[in-house]
Assembly symmetry: C2
Homo-oligomer: 469 residues x 2
């Protein structure tokens, strides 16, 4: 049983074992990260003792965790591998509940024996382990961040609904930096490391019950225990979406994975089938992972695969049609009643004569936000429409900023909406404003296709689950 | 015969027919665009006469182009469709060589007759036509820009080696804005419009001989004349790469295209085969189009499909391996001599013990630029390596800025190099610096895969052409 891992993400007090005053050392970098915005207490531990200054604040250095005159919930360990088992014993005596072991030099370096020893000691004391050989964990909610890359090299994303676990620490760091740059909000980040104790399934089950996480994402080269993973995933996807970027899909990739994390990447066909059966969405790239995650974090799954497109650019509508069909979705056939509404609105001069109201609904280049509103309402009111994709080419000066409030209003229909705004700085600025109203915005047509796919695919899975298919 | 279209892109003097002093009118917006940085003379024409002020400068308004006391090379026409044929006659009398017809209301609006009349008149005078129903053309070299979106909505990219033609004006505008945002340099942009006279093949042949264009890209829904296109493409790809994003690939997309540009999108299988035979690279998305274009504009095509990867992150190396193999490329098997070099450097302490020198070459997370240099040299010196992919996770503070100069030096081997730097602001900043040294940098692994694919695929085409396969 995994149980609740809140003690790992919401510690009241943390000890950094191997804390250093030497700039550039990992034990120094962790002290910097962890004292930046964490709302709990931080203690420095190093056999050398003394005092260290971090982020302008002085910390006494305890020679052993046992000397700390306070309870300690979590130990972050960054001492040479050979000392780690004894450090775990000291943590045990102190009553520590969880240890994040940053230190490398275990199984990945041919020292499986040292890793086994470590686990044995931790089990004895009931300590749960993250890692070893990992980048640490980050809780974006309370600022508990024991990763060690400096902020000028790796920015931290804002707090938000997406959790991410990574079997690659370096790639995890790149993802955090990327998410920060694109203002993608994250709840918790976990660098899995060697998974000597806690593995991807344990964290998945914890995140399933984490109220701050709406979508669970992961980069994996291989799972630790296939059956455990499958069961955990099946349980989790009933509650919230799980998106996995699995690498080591090809022979060369699998070989590289074996030398990287020692993962037996295994037959990709088996992974694929397991993901499909367990309702896990498989992403093929980093961008796709986040397109899926953003869509599912901000919109509810679609009840079917019939999509309506409203666009002020014909070409983008054609590309979107291709993209949706090539990914197995359908363009909604608008009902006769909807066609009549469009005809009438055109006759009354509320919509322009030269527009096309066959799906894709092309409201043409000079469309203001009011025209978007009319067309979107007609589409959303149509029972044949399960999901609406809105494309806005903001390069046209006719498109006013009223679109932000219009998009807020469109959500009253309770149908999922995806917004696509290709281009440069102005669309980017509008995107962030529209997202504040709850509608996810994507930079390109292909990103929008991903987003629609995720909502349709996960919606279909949930529906089949309910119907017991 | 198309001949040289330089007169259209390098006019000494231009008349804007339909120039307006009313803000928000297209004839006003064109005057603004065209007077912003164009190095030639601009004349305003409007039957109303008078004077207009644009960008702080006063222009007399001629009632007819014939009243302009100077030669006029190009007329940009933005008057109601029904007046256009007569305006063409006036242009003819004036000796105008080319007309860019922005006006809509021709074939796309059911007035094929008006379009035919227009062409008949233009032929009589020997005037070449861009459009009608187009966004205009932009020459980023001399500032001749008759597109009408305001700069705060649609930025203009810097001058550079990529030409772009678009059958969709609105999407073309989004592409310009996107390219500006991502600092992708463009030579010439052409909004094709209805292609009543000049079509995609004519412009392709012109751009083939344009010394300022290294790569030709296009968004097309359908070509105007299949045979003409095929021959033009075959001629052009011998000289420089042609990359086409063809939409209307699916049934729904083709229907949408028919209603958008009236293009008979035709069987996609036929397009696909024609592209393949003519050496045209087909892009499936906007981002892929630019990944291909950037790679081919900055690096020479690869002589084979054997790729070496040098990375400071194992996970990214695994993902890159998968991506390359899934797109039909191979990981280079490094020669015995190269393995020996690595072994020796490790023994001598120049490279770390725990690195992997099997391809992907993983120089691990604490790699400084000097370690990149050693590993990259070994890879580039290997006769089994046709192309080098370098992955740098700049989140690691160990990676110093010396990498910029290292990348400059690596080009001495004459082999194509692709650089991938995932993450946020810092990698983005480093990317621009490395690109100034001539190596293209991509944001994600999947973008880097695209880039490698373009260099390998076009290289293979050129090789087969040479060998007469």
């Amino acid at each position: 049983m995994t149980g609740n891992l809140n003690f790992l993400f919401y510690p009241k007090s943390v000890a950094v074992i191997g804390a250093s005053h030497v700039q550039g050392k990992i034990g120094n970098a962790i002290m910097r990260s962890i004292t930046r915005s964490f709302n709990g207490k931080v203690y420095a531990v190093n056999v050398k003792g003394g005092e260290i200054e971090v982020n302008g604040k002085k910390f006494p250095v305890y020679k052993s965790i046992k000397d700390i005159p306070d309870d300690v919930d979590v130990a972050v360990i960054a001492v040479p591998a050979r000392f780690v088992p004894d450090v775990i014993d000291e943590c045990g005596e102190k009553g520590v509940k969880g240890a994040v072991i940053i230190s490398a030099g275990f199984k990945e370096a041919g020292r499986a024996d040292l890793e086994e020893e470590l686990v044995k000691r931790a089990r004895k004391w009931g300590i749960r382990i993250v890692g070893p050989n990992c980048l640490g964990v980050t809780n974006l909610e309370n600022g508990f961040d024991c990763t060690f890359n400096p902020p000028e090299r790796q920015a931290r994303p804002p707090f938000g609904p997406i959790a991410f676990m990574s079997q690659s620490g370096a790639f995890g760091a790149a993802i955090l930096d990327w998410a920060a740059r694109h203002e993608v909000g994250m709840s918790k980040f976990i660098s899995l490391g060697n998974m000597a104790d806690l593995d991807e399934s344990d964290f998945m089950l914890y995140l399933k019950d984490d109220p701050k996480t709406k979508v669970i994402t992961a980069y994996l080269e291989g799972v630790k225990d296939g059956r455990k993973f499958f069961n955990a995933a099946k349980e989790t996807t009933k509650v919230k979406p799980v998106i996995i970027l699995k690498s080591g899909r090809t022979e060369a990739g699998a070989k590289a994975a074996a030398s990287h994390t020692g993962s037996l990447a295994g037959s990709y066909a088996i992974y694929k089938a397991a993901f499909e059966q367990a309702g896990v969405l498989e992403a093929r790239s980093m961008r796709q992972l986040f397109n899926y995650a953003k869509a599912l974090a901000m919109q509810k799954p679609a009840e079917g695969d019939q999509i309506a497109i409203v666009t002020n650019g014909g070409g983008a509508g054609v590309m979107m049609s291709d993209g949706l069909l090539e990914r197995g979705m359908r363009l909604a056939e608008l009902s006769e009643a909807t066609n009549e509404k469009f005809k009438k609105a055109i006759e009354e001069g509320k919509l322009p004569e030269h527009m096309s109201y066959r799906n894709p609904i092309d409201i043409i280049g000079d469309a203001p936000s009011s025209r978007y509103e009319i067309a979107m309402r007609f589409a959303l009111e149509d029972p044949n429409v399960d999901l609406l994709v809105v494309i806005a080419l903001f390069q046209s000066p006719a498109l006013d900023e009223g679109i932000v409030d219009v998009m807020e209003r469109m959500q009253e229909y309770g149908k999922p909406i995806i917004f696509v705004a290709p281009g440069g700085r102005y669309p980017e600025e509008m995107a962030r404003r529209i997202e504040k109203k709850g509608v996810p915005v994507f930079e390109t047509v292909e990103d929008g296709v991903d987003a629609a796919f995720a909502l349709v695919k996960y919606g279909k899975y949930l529906k089949e689950l309910k119907e017991g298919v």
